[in-house]
Symmetry: C2
Subunit: 191 residues, 2 copies
Amino acid sequence: MNKKDLRVVKTQNILYRTLLDLMKEKTFEEIKVSDICNQALVNRSTFYAHYNDKYELLAEFIQELKNSLIGELKKNKNISNTKEYYLEMIKLFLDHIEEKRESYLAIMIHNRNSITMDIIYDVLDHNITSHLQQDNSIDESPIPRSIIAKFYIGAVVNVGMEWLKDGKTYTKEDLILYFNYLIPNDLSHSV
Amino acid sequence: MNKKDLRVVKTQNILYRTLLDLMKEKTFEEIKVSDICNQALVNRSTFYAHYNDKYELLAEFIQELKNSLIGELKKNKNISNTKEYYLEMIKLFLDHIEEKRESYLAIMIHNRNSITMDIIYDVLDHNITSHLQQDNSIDESPIPRSIIAKFYIGAVVNVGMEWLKDGKTYTKEDLILYFNYLIPNDLSHSV
DNA sequence: ATAAATAAACTACATTTTGTATGTTATCTT
DNA sequence: AAGATAACATACAAAATGTAGTTTATTTAT
């Protein structure tokens, strides 16, 4: 297998990085291909040699975040159907958004919560929902599994995003403690 | 006070309506001012007589939804600091998204959850957070009020949006019942 | 019902941005 | 060191934007 041409790696990195920087200043839509190229000191024709348009560059940006989150969540070795599993998931999720803080803030500031939410929901949804499928502790639940999943995913993500924006008023450990209170021992909510 | 010129009302309505229709087909960004005008049978120069750009039209669209939600939530006469208040809030919220279903679906399909979320979060956040300020039943809570608010708002909105997208697999009454299970009697989560 | 007001249509134009194509120069790989 | 190829420079056609000036049609107010 051949190593990728250094020039290609360098150009793509710098374009990626420049997009990130520009998103701190303006909406993604306000960012023109020429803006990226000017700031990156890359010729515009070179840009088009790599991407068909700016949306492709953004897609790469998003995919990178998704992959990172997916990788992070895989670290969860807890296979129990208990609260511990979900709390561990949340911890890994917080680790991830903390690590990618710069990226998430960039897309949140000027692009509304939009893109962020979708990235995270996609991944978490897939993970949590599939786990819930096998969680027979909620067989007797009066609430459909999918609703339970949406409920807690929405809750955790919303708190997480606020935490990032707030500039970490609380420590990650604080947050996990709060979630420990907020999430019931019995996810099935059976009475 | 003079009545608004009929021509103006007519044109604005048709532009608004056309934007909504087009958003069912493509991304907001893919929609060109000329697309709107062609489909609306309105001259492009007329468009610019009303709005500086398509973003201004979208802003109006969003504002309309916000106002509608604000109006809906005001119907809550329950002033207690109990679970009833929050459940009533949720009911009104569900009424709202059901009524504005077409609009919400339009912005969700091609524009990712983005805009939707922001509209709703803004309004709900303002409402719930300010109510929580006066809720002294959670004075003793180990969890900050703002976190509690973000948690349940994210949860409810995420479930609500899924409900819309799913085409109402459950009735509104079902949903309210589920929320009744999912939301604890004691919001403070004190042990 | 008519006149004055004004919105909408029509037309034209300068500007920006996009996406593509082509030849040259610089850099990397083997 | 030679061949491969990425990046640069330049040019161009097409699309879309935003503005301006003129004419036509509709509405409001008398």
